[in-house]
Subunit: 154 residues, 2 copies
DNA sequence: GTCAATGGTTGAGGTAGTCAACTATCTACT
DNA sequence: AGTAGATAGTTGACTACCTCAACCATTGAC
């Protein structure tokens, strides 16, 4: 068993992924900033794109405390991008939904993210295909239930 | 030109990368938390691994304001992981260096990050090799000058 | 020797995040 | 029905991160 070699490759691999992650994070933050949003706010909007969600569920998806979602929501609601609605059947839960404006912004932001991505440049079609296949296997592997959804290109 | 198809693939690809990034971010944050560090603090330690650096340069590498580095440094210095040193030749600049303890923590953290990575699992050797090749091409492409370095496995 | 540029710090202010305590509601059980 | 306990969200206190503007100290050039 070439354990030495394996270790070195893993090392390099993790490093490459860390590099790419950092790069994407930066890219994401910059794009999102053009819309006067923070990364977290954008993340929340994106979770809302497929449809309204109870706040508690959002806390789960963002992997953060419920109280954090409260604050996040306050700010987004103040800007009219999101609204709290009553949930039918349980008066405790508040369901978060995109407003029209919120939907518009969400869609525009996603569009913007798509146009110039560091990943798309630098690889030809064939390689993109291969990369996609590999990434999907990595990402799907032990992923949280239902956390990666299409952006509701409605 | 199959523009429609290309668009869809790019769409999926960006999504996959975003997913992986999110996943790595989470993973990174959790590991780093085991050492009572934040992601940013870990990032700074890592930049210091190859050797001492002037604070201004660090601000550049972390892509943040200089004043932010001051605060970051204050906290890390209070914990004895890092120290400010005078720079020979220019009494304005302060050079940041890992203490012995800081070096120990940095190394241990990196070791920890290596051991279980979401990327390593889920792919066999051959695929890891392919993925590495692709990622390196993506990351190297128009990367910031000198931002991705080996972790000084000294 | 003065003056502008540079490196770092300070202070104000905003977002993100946690935790503990609290309110309102729901559910289950008697 | 009535109470006890779980659950959803909010509030308040606190920390970290981050930016901007104002501010020293030093440097370098003229």
């Amino acid at each position: 068993m070439p354990a030495q070699e394996d270790l070195a490759r893993t090392h390099e691999l993790v490093q490459a992924v860390l590099g790419l992650s950092e790069r994407m994070r930066r890219h994401y933050a910059e794009r999102v900033d053009e819309f006067d949003l923070t990364s977290t706010q954008a993340h929340l909007l994106r979770e809302l794109a497929p449809g309204p969600r109870p706040m508690g569920e959002l806390a789960g998806r963002l992997a953060c405390d419920a109280s954090n979602v409260t604050g996040l929501t306050d700010r987004l609601e103040a800007r009219g991008l999101v609204e709290r609605r009553a949930a039918p059947g349980d008066r405790r839960v508040k369901v978060l939904a995109l407003t029209h404006e919120g939907e518009r912004v969400q869609r525009a932001l996603w569009e913007r993210l798509m146009t110039d991505s560091p990943v798309a440049a630098g690889l030809d079609r064939r390689d993109q295909q291969v990369l996609l296949g590999l990434l999907q296997r990595v990402v799907v592997e032990e992923a949280r239930p239902d956390c990666s959804r299409p952006p509701a290109s409605a």
